[in-house]
Each structure stands twice: as C-alpha cells, then as structure tokens.
Symmetry: C2
Subunit: 684 residues, 2 copies
C-alpha cells in the first residue's frame, strides 16, 4: 500500500470541488513517481493524465486502488480490483456505518476476506507516505519529510499534527487515517511502522479499538523497537459499564487504557499538544541515558519556568557539583551568570558560551540531557547546536521563545537539523520526560518477560455472561490452589462445630456467615470479630445466624467460616475485573475510602510480571504508608508483590473466574493476609 | 509614566550594538508622538534627534526619564532628574542587587523617597504602552495594539507573551518588566491597569513579592474591575520554611499562593501557555453567563478532544434538549451530522450552517458559550463569527487547527476581529474555563465582603520570633472565647480530682496530660480514652502520669485535662500557620494520613468569609465523605463553616497566636467538636 509502484484512482475528476479532483491533485503535487491511473466512467483525460473507464481497462499492474466513488458503488469497484489482483485499497468514500449503512460495510468486509484484498477505510481522508511521495489524501499535501508516522482515527488530528510537524520543520514519514476500519486497523499499522526504516517514532490518536489484546501485543512489539505515543480519546459506554462493577467502580476505561499502554511501553498523552510534543522529542532526541537535566538559558525566567515543572515530569535538575562550578569559573562567562541549575548566563546571548558550558557538563557527567532553554534571539544557534551535538554523548533538546524574528527562522532551522524545538520551557520538559520514560522502558523491558506473557494469550472471549458469586468457602479453595495467604479456617455448620474449629486453630477467631444468598455479609450482621473463648464463639455463632435470618429472611445459610484472627496491619485492596476491551485487569489500591473516594488505585492488564507489580504498588499516592510512615513498620512489600503475581496467575489460568475482590488484604511487617474474598464465576 | 508627553533617554547612543541605541530606536519605531530627548555626555545628534549633554540642559518639561547608563552613574542621573522635577524614571540599567550591589539599590530607594521621583526597575527591559505608542524597551518593538496588559518580573516572559499576542492578532495594551522593584512594584501596576481603559485583562508573571497583603488587596481590587491571571514561578526558600512547621508541612508556598490569588478573584495559571490562553480568553470573550458549552465542529475528532477535558475544566457540555434537536432537524444540515453535544456537522464545512446552529442554540438557551471548534479549512469564518456575535447573547470562543493556509490567515483575522482563537481544542477549553471562573467570581463577590476584610488589615508583622506552645488547658481558654466547641472538661491535679471531675461531667471520659514540656502527648503515653468508671479514671490517671514520667523524665507535669468523650464521627483537621508572605493562613483537610500523605488540604488567607469557608470544605477530595458517603450520616457542614470562621476571627484578632492546630476535629451529624488543640504563642 505504502510502497505501491502504481496507483489507480477510482472516481478521479476534473471538477476542482470534488474529492476525486483534490486527491488526484494531491498525488501529483506530492511528487509521486509511480504510475498514476485515473479511473472515471467517462474516460478521456483528467488533470493531464489519460483516464480509464474501469480498473480492468488499465493495461499494467496496479499495486493500490484509491476509491472515491459514492458508497453504494464501492463493493463493485473492490470486486473488480480483486479480480485485477490489486492487493490493497484505500477507500476514502463515506456513507457506511456512520450513515447507518452497516450492511455496505459488511459487504466490504466479506469482499476483503473472500478475495484477500486489504482495505483501509472506508470514510477516511486517505494516506500519505513520504518515502514513496505518495500523498493520497484530498487535504493537506504535506511534503516535509521527517521521522514521525501519524496513525489516527480522526482526519482532523492526522492533518493537524501533520501541519504542525511540517510547519516547524520536523516533518513526517507518513500519515494514515483509520476511519471505519473494516479490515486494516491500528494494529496493522503499528506492525508496519514498527519495522519501517523511515519512521523513528509513531504518534497515534485512537477512538475505539476492535481487538484489545491484539492491540496491546502490537503496541508492545512496536515499543520494543521504537517509541510510540498514544492519545486515546473518548470516554466509552464500555468504560461506564466497567465502572458499575464493584472493584471497577473507579475503572473508567481511560484509567485502564492508560495503564495498559504504559505497561506495553507506550507513552500516554492526554491532549493533542502533549501527543505532538512527546512524539517530537521521541522522534528526534538521542535516547537519554538518565533523567538528569542541565538547563542553560540567558533568561532567568525561562530557567525558572522549566524548574517549576521538574517534579511533575519525573525529571531531575541536579545540583551542580563543586568541581564543575570550579571549571565553569574558568570560562569567559558574564559576571552576572548564575552558576547553578538552571544555569542563567546573565543575559549573555553568546551561543559559544552555551556550547562551552554544555561541553563541560557532558565531559564531567553533570547530566544526561542538555536543555538549551533559549529565551532571547540567539544568533548562530543552529550551527552551535549541530556542532555541540557532534561532540557530546548527552541528549539535546531546545526550548525557544521570546526571540523575535531570529527565533522564528532559527526554530525551524534547528528542528530541520534534527533537534526538537519547543515553544515554551514547560512543553520542552514534557517532551524530555517522554524521552526519559521511554529510554527507561527500553532499559528495563528486557529484564523479564513481564507483560509479554500476553503474546501467547488467546483472544479473550468476553461473552461469558454475567456470572454468579461463589460462597466464600468455595472461593477460598481457589486461593489455596494459588498459595494466596488466607487465615487458617474451617467451615462450621453449627455453633458446636464452630467452637471445635476455634479450639483447633486458636483464639481469637472471626466468624463469617456462609450463604449463597448473602453477598455483603457485614450489612446483614454476618461477621463477628475478636471472639476470644469457646463461650464467645458459641454465643457469637448463634447470634450471628439469628441476625442474618432477621435481616435476610429468605436466605439459605450453610453455616459459617471460622477464621483465625489476623494480626493488626495496614489494609489494601486487590481486585480483578474483566475489562470489556482488554479482558482480565488487576487493580491495587489502599482500602476503603482511599479507593472509593480518593481513587488512589493502580491498574494493570493481566498477566503481569514482577516489575509491573512493583510499579503498581509504587504508583499509588498512599505508597509512603507501606514503607514505614511515622515510625510504623514497613509492610512486607515482597509478599505483596507475590500476592499480585498469584492473583494474576489465578485469573489468567482459571478462565472461569470473571471477577475477584480481595478486600481487605492485611499487610504486616512480615507477610500479608487476605481477610475477605468475593469471587464471581462466569456463567456456563 | 505611561502617558508621558515627553521622554528623556539618558545613555542614548548611535552605536547599534548598545541598549542606548536600541531603546531610542524602539521609541522612534514604535511611533511615539511626544517629545524625545536623547541625552548623552557628548551631545550632538543621535538617530536624527538633537542630543542633550544632561537632563538639565533640556529646555522643556520632561515627564519620563529612561536610564541606560552604567549602574554607578544611575544615582546621579536620578538626582538630576528629581531636580528637574521629572516625576518618573524607568531604570533599565543592570548591575545592582543581581550583581551584589545592594548599596546602589538602597541609594536609588532613598532618592525615590527623598525626592518623590517614582522609579521602575532597575535591571529591566523597559516598558511598552501602546495607547501612547511609547515603546521604551530595547527589544521587541510590539506595535499590535490590543486589550492585554502584561506585567512580568521576567523580561523573557514579557517579550514571549507580547510576541505571541502580536503574532496571533490579539495585541497588547502594555508590557511592563518589573526587575528589581526598588520602588514601583507589581501592586502599583495592578492599581494602574485596573483602571486603565485601554486594558481589558491583566496577565502577570511573578517571582517574588515584597508586601504580600498589599498585593492581595491590589489583586482583589483589580479583579473586582477586570480579569487578572497570575503565574507565580519559583518554589521559594520561604516556602520551604513554611513546609517545616507542623500543619504547614504540606504548605508549599505555591499552594498557599494559588489559594490566596483564587480567593482574591484572580485566575491562577501554572505554566506559560496557560497564562496566555486564559489571558486571551478573558481579554476578548464576552463574560459567560454560565458554564454550559455547545461545541460545534465539522470534525468528530475535534469535538471529542474538547469533550475529553470537560470535567478537568469545570465546564459542562449539556445534552441537547429534544425541542432543540427538533428545530435542528429543520435546518439544511448534512445527513451525516450528529445532532448531539459536541455537535458534529459531518464534514460539512459550510460556515453558514455553523451560524444557524449557534443562533438556534442561543435563542433556545441551550448553552452560555458557543465553541466554534474548527478542525478544517473554514472559508468565510471571520465574517460569520462577526455576524453571529452581533446576533447572540452567548459568549463565543474559537478553536482552529488542521485548516492549512485558510486557517493560518483566518485565525489571525478572527482574533483581530476580537474573538479568542486557540490552536487546539483543549487549550480553548481552558481559556473558556477561565472566563467561566472569573464570571462566577464577579457574580458572587458582591454577596459578602469576605476577603475584603483584608482591606482594613494592617501590614502583617512577620518578625514575631519563633514562639512557644501553650499547654492545652491554656489553649482551651482561647477556644472558649471564640465559641469554638471543645468537650466539657476540667483540670485535675490529682487522680482524686480527676475522678471528681469525671463524675461531674459524666462518663466515659478522656484523660490528657498537661505539661509545658510535652508537645506530643500520645507519644509519651499521655492520653487515655474510654474511661467508664471512677475506678478506671483513678487507675488511668496514675498509670498515665507514670508512663509520661518514664518516657519524659525531665518533664514537669501540671496534671491532666479530664474531658467528656465525644460521640463518634468523622475526623478532620483545621490549622493555621503564619505564611511568610501573607501572614495568618488557614488550612482545612481530612485528618491523619489524608493530610500528611495524600495532601488533601485546602488553604485560605485569613480573614475568610463564609463563601471562602464553604469553598475550602468543598474543594478537598474527601468532601464526599462529609456529605453522607455510603449511608453514613451527613456531617454538620454549617457548624464546620462556623468553626472555620471562628478560627479565622481568633487568629486575626488575637495577634499573639502564631500557629494553631485543631487536630482532630470531630464532625457529627449534629455539631462539631475540637478534640485536641495545639497553640503557639508568639514570643514577646
């Protein structure tokens, strides 16, 4: 499709107001060197090229057909294309699913699967692949070639980012608009651009995804080769459905989506400019070897603006080591220079001084990234940046504003020379942060197979019905099988049996009613804690049964679990839900109101690896509580990691389990303990 | 200064590399119509104007002197200026405080106060006041006049925003660079621009502030007249100091600063582009009458991008009422249009259709803001926006991207016509959010004098020393005086006395050790709760005293407070600290780890009004817990508001109190109760 040596354009036109004119015009203006075959029922000549009445009339081989005719003609055109053995079609025409014609879309799908012709679209602006100078897009004609591939469901976003990239001198390798995705989808293009030598980074704007697991595998594979930035737009109905389940009440699909992408090594952006800034940095920066930045500016204000977002971004502005400061003093700098980080040259605009400072910093390993934070007109900046880059191993990024005409020209030249230029210090920082984050992923991803476990996972079947809850005594059996710690316990069918069990396991004990009809035990008085003697157990059992019967008269009660009471400790919650897009998803958070009000939770798609589990634990805001806050003992983080991994194995292997709620999980200085479990089994 | 009819430029030069050349050149190129008097010791002619050897040689009156000579000559020039009765001086020269010459700066200060000459600077780029075409700034020469005044400590920020505004067609009324502020400071310029008819909004970039209370009063006065956006940069050492005190451990001065500005009606921006976006919206949008937005776009992607930030921004995208949808159906819209909000015209780029939809929405009161969310080339957009605006009462804002050459020209024309244009939907949303927030402030501010209490407050004396903590029995007396509810209690000096008091107030009781040497009672075992009988009180008292003596052998123990145990309830924390910039500052938050780990706290400068107290309570994340979460009773919010107001009165009136910690404060369904108080009194 992208490397087509010949293109047929069905619906080509001489009428400048028609897409069939504009698209052909774009191909010509884009400088395409292959054969162009305009196709129009009238034949004749179109825009100076011989027009054919039909695809079959074309004498030579055709690699790609671009379809611009009204929707109801499209199936016929594609069948003809298939007969001519054209391997790929870009269907720009609208009027399908978005116009209520799902039937037409199904027809396209069946043509593709029957004849093997691959279809992009319908309902798209088209594609632009600059290495082949193939701009088959009615608007805009972007010819500024660069390292960035844009894959976007929205034509506007495709165009917007293309124009920004062209205007700034960054350029693009490709722009693809996904549209209705009857055949080719985001994962196909991830696969392509992952190995496309002309692309250094991939920027994606996605609205919906067909096959979540396939997407994650493709994303993970691509991110292991080159950086991918993803902006997912739209709070979906699926997200709302997910939010209705218990542990998932905080799981807007956006939270899960972000976690999933991050897990696979993609950078997640939450708005359009962030998508662009991150993609720009990732496409052009030398991969940073660490997160330490040296900001050099002639402007105190620019330095301060950068420093003010340093913590938000996960970057570091290291203090300058004394020996570096000593060396700085030997340079011919202004007396007003502030020898600190951010470095303020004191209104000294001599770019040679910037270079000298940066060279010294590189040599003395003061930072891994040099941020040339220009806040004035910087004459000679482009040459200096190029020279500097050839002499150092640090990464370079440039911020440039408040520089008048010199800036307006200089920013494009610097960008054209291959260095990211940002219009404000804070945007530069977020670009650098993306570069640091991605470099970190590449450094750590090889250490374990972690998420790659997904590679082998079958497509998740999400049509398992609503499911039903197991009684706790049944659920506990699953925990046992996966070595998930649960208090020593026994199932008692009478008060006497409860006393016997309690004596066996030792006091104090907890009683929990077991009834298939009781989901929320506490709400019907079905839990009693702190029973210290046989008498208390005897009374406690009887009273509990009595309470439950009073509160839930129609419930059938099997008896009670008698559990050894766990030692005191911090409580957390671990849950799994079945995400409608990605399948089994694990949640970890601080218990109770932290989860429900503060939304202090972390998500990962299952299966997870050890480093995923570690990151989940560290990323919640309440993490300091786990590590010995205010003289409390540090919780057993290793056991907690093991627990998360066990839960992941459980929901991956035991596909009959649809949802799981370990709430609370008690964390002690030594060991962890699940105190309560709710488990939903998929309906047969 | 701004309206000077004549300007003398001391240090004017014919050497194009000198600031003295560039600044004179700027004044000339800016089109200044008043008298220009270049001053240079050599006399002669400079840039075609007669040069004077000194200020005194100038024949006519001089309204403003711009000083560009080296620092050590500046005092002499200013004395001469004062003798010539020049009322104002802009001192651009550097080489003062920033170069270690505080002495020179003090000299300027004393000249100003002795002779009355007002000084801006030193160490600045200068000023630009476009209504007077007075661009006394060596760079850049901005002549695009518009509604925005920029007041900035940093020359780079002044220039950067000026250039953005000029480049986009927004324009500026003025740009002022503050520099070292020996005399005139940010508050002076707030005062000026608040009443300057040529200015519709004020954008401020601040690094440090001399007189915090004066700043807040000026800010509040200005914000009551026109919108002010503030970007405060730099985490100050003072902020760190503030963070070291107990309740202030979360109080980075930035949090307090943001709260203070918001309290005064200013919009707070946290990065440069947000400062600009908000200022643009506020300077040009018709004040919105509500927060409901109708987004109209030919691009589904643009609409989705806007919708995705709606919650972050506090805006609303209302569902379209059925009667509106019915009327829409009568319009000649595309069959592919999505009749929802965001409204997607279905790739219909006809601006007339945009206008028709907007007119209908305005007429049928569907929203208070129409967001023209352009994501394509929109031919005829400028005229349409102008026409539309004249026919509606809704506010208008425009987003424009992915529109190629048509956009590049159109966006400037629309902006020049007086409507804010943003380069991405999300940035448009934050601009609109600022407009909504400011309109809300203007609507509610008149309802009470709230913060304006500050207007009468004297300058806060922050040099009160470190202070010392009161024993609780003393602190409680202050609470009594301000009707702050504290449990019924008595001071017991012996176990027997404790029993008597307990009998009087009723069981159960709490014992709390009273000792000037014990600050953290719990840590030395100095608190016992739940004592239900005379025996328990007797034993509890003795054991407690024993424990405290064992833990803190050198402490002198006065006895114990015997308090009636409060009913169960939710616990919050209220504290006050002395902010180094603003003085008494009130903090409210959820207790314990919520405050210390989750940083779920709200700040306000004291005194506060009822609406401040209400907003503080509502803005913490844990707020849902207070309003009856999960079937819990709703807390007594009114009593909590009263408590915050009482605390505010206490720290405002009793200036000897430096810090106050009410922790915890228990909230019940009826009433609130302070359970523990720590109070620090200022050293004499």
């Amino acid at each position: 499709m992208f490397n087509a040596r010949s293109v047929a354009l069905v619906g080509a036109s001489n009428d400048p107001h028609k897409f069939g004119y504009m698209t052909l015009n774009s191909i010509i203006r884009g400088g395409y060197k292959g054969q162009i075959y305009p196709v129009n029922a009238k034949g004749g000549e179109i825009q100076g090229l011989r027009a054919y009445r039909s695809l079959s009339e074309i004498p030579g081989e055709v690699d790609l057909v671009v379809v611009l005719v009204p929707a109801h003609f499209v199936p016929e055109v594609l069948r003809e294309a298939a007969q001519k053995e054209i391997p790929g079609a870009v269907v720009c025409s609208g009027g399908f699913r978005e116009a209520g014609r799902i039937d037409l879309e199904e027809e396209l799908k069946s043509i593709s699967s029957r004849y093997g012709i691959r279809i992009l679209g319908p309902n798209i602006a088209g594609i632009n692949y600059l290495p082949n100078k193939l701009c088959s897009m009615f608007f805009p004609v972007i010819t500024t070639r660069g390292p960035l591939a844009i894959v976007s469901q929205s034509g506007t976003v495709t165009n917007g980012i293309s124009e920004w990239a062209a205007g700034e001198g960054l350029g693009i390798s490709a722009a693809v608009n996904l549209g209705n995705q009857v055949d080719l989808c985001e994962s196909d293009f991830l696969d392509f651009f992952a190995v496309d030598e002309n692309t250094k980074a991939i920027a994606m704007y996605l609205e919906g995804i067909e096959d979540g697991r396939r997407f994650l595998r493709a994303l993970n594979r691509a991110a292991s080769i080159k950086p991918v930035v993803v902006l997912k737009a739209g709070r979906t109905p699926e997200g709302q459905r997910s939010a209705s389940s218990h542990t998932g009440s905080m799981a807007t699909s956006h939270e899960v989506f972000s976690a999933a992408c991050g897990q696979c090594g993609a950078i997640v952006a939450n708005d359009l400019e962030t998508l662009y800034d991150c993609a720009k940095a990732l496409a052009t920066m030398r991969p940073p070897k660490g997160n330490r930045i040296l900001s050099i500016s002639s402007s105190g204000g620019a330095g301060t603006l950068a420093a003010d977002v340093i913590n938000v971004q996960g970057l570091e502005l290291p203090k300058l080591p004394p020996e570096f400061v000593e060396e700085l003093k030997k340079l011919p700098l202004s007396a007003l220079a502030t020898l600190a980080n951010p470095f303020d040259t004191g209104a000294d605009l001599d770019v040679q001084h910037f270079e000298q400072i940066a060279l010294l910093a590189d040599k003395m390993d003061v930072a891994e990234i040099i941020f040339l934070n220009f806040g004035d007109p910087m004459v000679g900046a482009t040459q200096m940046v190029k020279d500097l880059n050839s002499k150092i191993t640090c990464s370079l990024a440039v911020g440039y504003f408040a520089g008048g005409e010199e800036e307006r020209l200089g920013r494009v030249k610097i960008q054209e020379a291959g260095f990211p230029v940002f219009p404000a210090p804070e945007r530069a920082m977020r670009g650098m942060a993306a570069a640091v984050q991605y470099a970190l992923f590449r450094k750590t991803e090889k250490q374990e197979d972690a998420f790659c476990g997904l590679g082998g996972a079958k497509r998740i079947d999400l049509r398992g019905g609503e499911g039903n809850f197991l009684v706790e005594s049944e659920a506990v059996k699953y925990l046992d099988q996966y070595q998930i710690p649960y208090p020593e316990h026994g199932m008692a069918h009478s008060a006497e049996e409860a006393v016997d069990i309690a004596k066996q396991i030792g006091f104090p004990v907890v009683l929990k009613v077991v009834s298939a009809d009781v989901l929320h035990k506490s709400e019907v008085g079905g839990v009693v804690v702190g029973l210290k003697s046989p008498e208390e157990v005897m009374d406690g059992f009887k009273q509990m049964i009595h309470r439950v019967q009073a509160s839930a008269p129609n419930s059938s009660i099997s008896g009670a679990l008698v559990c050894k009471q766990a030692p005191a400790g911090l409580e957390v919650i671990i849950g799994t839900t079945e995400d409608p897009l990605f399948g089994p998803t694990i949640m970890f958070g601080m218990g109770g109101i932290f989860t429900e009000v503060m939304r202090d939770v972390a998500f990962r798609i299952s299966p997870i690896g050890r480093s995923d589990a570690e990151k989940m634990i560290r990323e919640i805001k309440g993490y300091p509580l786990l590590t010995g806050f205010r003289g409390q003992p540090c919780c057993d983080i290793n056991q907690l990691i093991d627990l998360l991994l066990s839960v992941s194995r459980l929901v991956t292997e035991r596909t009959e389990i649809r949802e799981l709620d370990l709430n609370p999980v008690r964390l002690c200085a030594q060991g962890v303990m699940v105190l309560d479990v709710r488990m939903m089994r998929r309906d047969k």
